[in-house]
Structures are given as structure tokens and as C-alpha cells.
């Protein structure tokens, strides 16, 4: 790895770590299911960027893109199903505050 590439890798890694912490913060802090989903999205974005960066650094861009395409498909399905869960929760509980969703509590 050349010094220039290494420096690029270093700064991107810092940005990715900060993005990841921001996503975790969003999931932890939020009392709203939609906002928690947005936090999960931010986490996935950090992982996506990490994969693309790894492909760029190792000169395997095509492989990284193929993996990212799979990741995007999985992301879409997760978001659609999670959106369905949120709407279902709202329909039966009239709230999307996770503290008030107590129907499944044992």
C-alpha cells in the first residue's frame, strides 16, 4: 500500500467510525421506531462505505461493487419489512414509541 493510499484509508476509516457511532447514537437515543430505523440505515451506510473503500485500496473494485449490490438489496428488504412492522405496531397500539409497545411482554 502506497503512503498516499494509506493516508486516504486512514481518514476514511475515521469518517466511517464516526458515522458508525452516529448510527449507534441514533438507535440508542431515539424513542421512535422510524428514527431508530434511520439509525440502522446510517450503520449500513458506514458498512457500505467501508466495503467500497476496501475494494478501492486493494484494487478489487468490481468485487466490492458486487458485494455492495447484494448489501443494497438486503437493505431494501430489511427496510420494507421493518416499515411494515412499524405500521403494524401503529395500527394495533396507536403509537410507535417502543416503551409503550407492551403487547408481547411476558
Amino acid at each position: 500500500m502506497s503512503p498516499d493510499t494509506f493516508e486516504l484509508f486512514r481518514y476514511f476509516i475515521i469518517f466511517i467510525i464516526l458515522l458508525f457511532i452516529a448510527g449507534v447514537y441514533c438507535v440508542l437515543v431515539s424513542f421512535n421506531l422510524v428514527r431508530a430505523l434511520i439509525g440502522v440505515e446510517i450503520l449500513i451506510k458506514a458498512v457500505t462505505l467501508l466495503i467500497i473503500l476496501a475494494g478501492y485500496i486493494c484494487d478489487r473494485v468490481a468485487l466490492a461493487q458486487a458485494i455492495v449490490l447484494t448489501l443494497i438489496v438486503i437493505e431494501i428488504v430489511i427496510m420494507v419489512v421493518a416499515g411494515g412492522v412499524v405500521l403494524w405496531a401503529f395500527k394495533y397500539n396507536k403509537t410507535i414509541d417502543p416503551r409503550r409497545l407492551s403487547n408481547l411482554r411476558g
Partner: protein
């Protein structure tokens, strides 16, 4: 973390657009196009649809919630800033070399020849998602 969820969704779409630009700069145009069209477009539509079906909270309630949130996680923004500064200052990544894989430059060849199991997984996941959504929104016949 705005009062209106729509603002948060727009912020997420902007993040996706910026990420797509970075991907383009990193020689990944196909992934960038997918990120821009699917993540920035379709996911925003899904979120906005979800938000429009759910109820908006009042401003007073939002202020109370925000206060609770800040009291619970007051330290977290400081942790993010401190971790960022420490990483910039002290992060030392060792030089490494990766095993030499077969280098194919065309993403279509990689996807169809090397990663064909991924395609099968994608199809299964999409079918599972469709079934999941159908089960959630199936009206009872009773």
C-alpha cells in the same frame, strides 16, 4: 433528531447522495448509481410513506422527550467528538497486504461468475421480504 421525521428522512437521503458521490470518486460507478437511485430514492419513499401513516407528536411532548433523551445520553456527543479527535491524533494502522484474488475488472463477470450464490441469496431474501409484507398487511377474514 429534528421534531419532524420528514426532516430526518431528507437528511438521510442527502447522506445517501453524498455517499454516492464518494463511491463515484472511489471508482465504483455502478454501486454509486444503485446507492443514489435505491437508497436515496426508494428508501426515502418508504420512510415518508411510513411517516405519513403514523401520528405526529406535539411540540410540547417532543420537548419533554428531548429533555429525557439528553439527560439519559448527555455524554454520547462528547464521546463521539473525543473519539474522533483521538482517532485523528493517535490511530495507527499497520501496513498490511491482502491475499491475491483473481482480479476481474468487470462487475458483471464478478456477479454472474464468481458471486452467483449471492444472486440466489438475493432472490431468497426478496421472496422472504414479500411474504413478510403480505403477512403483515393481510386482512383477517373473520
Amino acid at each position: 433528531m429534528t421534531i419532524r421525521l420528514v426532516h430526518s428522512v431528507v437528511g438521510l437521503a442527502l447522506t445517501s447522495a453524498i455517499l454516492a458521490a464518494i463511491m463515484y470518486r472511489l471508482n465504483s460507478p455502478l454501486a454509486a448509481v444503485f446507492e443514489l437511485s435505491v437508497c436515496s430514492g426508494l428508501i426515502s419513499v418508504i420512510f415518508i410513506t411510513t411517516v405519513s401513516f403514523t401520528q405526529r407528536i406535539s411540540k410540547e411532548r417532543f420537548i419533554v422527550r428531548r429533555r429525557e433523551r439528553l439527560l439519559r445520553f448527555l455524554y454520547l456527543p462528547f464521546i463521539i467528538i473525543i473519539v474522533g479527535l483521538l482517532l485523528v491524533r493517535y490511530l495507527k494502522i499497520p501496513q498490511f497486504s491482502l491475499p491475491c484474488l483473481a482480479q476481474v475488472t468487470d462487475v458483471r463477470l464478478v456477479l454472474w461468475n464468481m458471486r452467483h450464490l449471492d444472486l440466489l441469496g438475493q432472490a431468497v431474501i426478496i421472496i422472504a421480504g414479500v411474504f413478510g409484507v403480505v403477512v403483515f398487511f393481510k386482512e383477517s377474514n373473520k
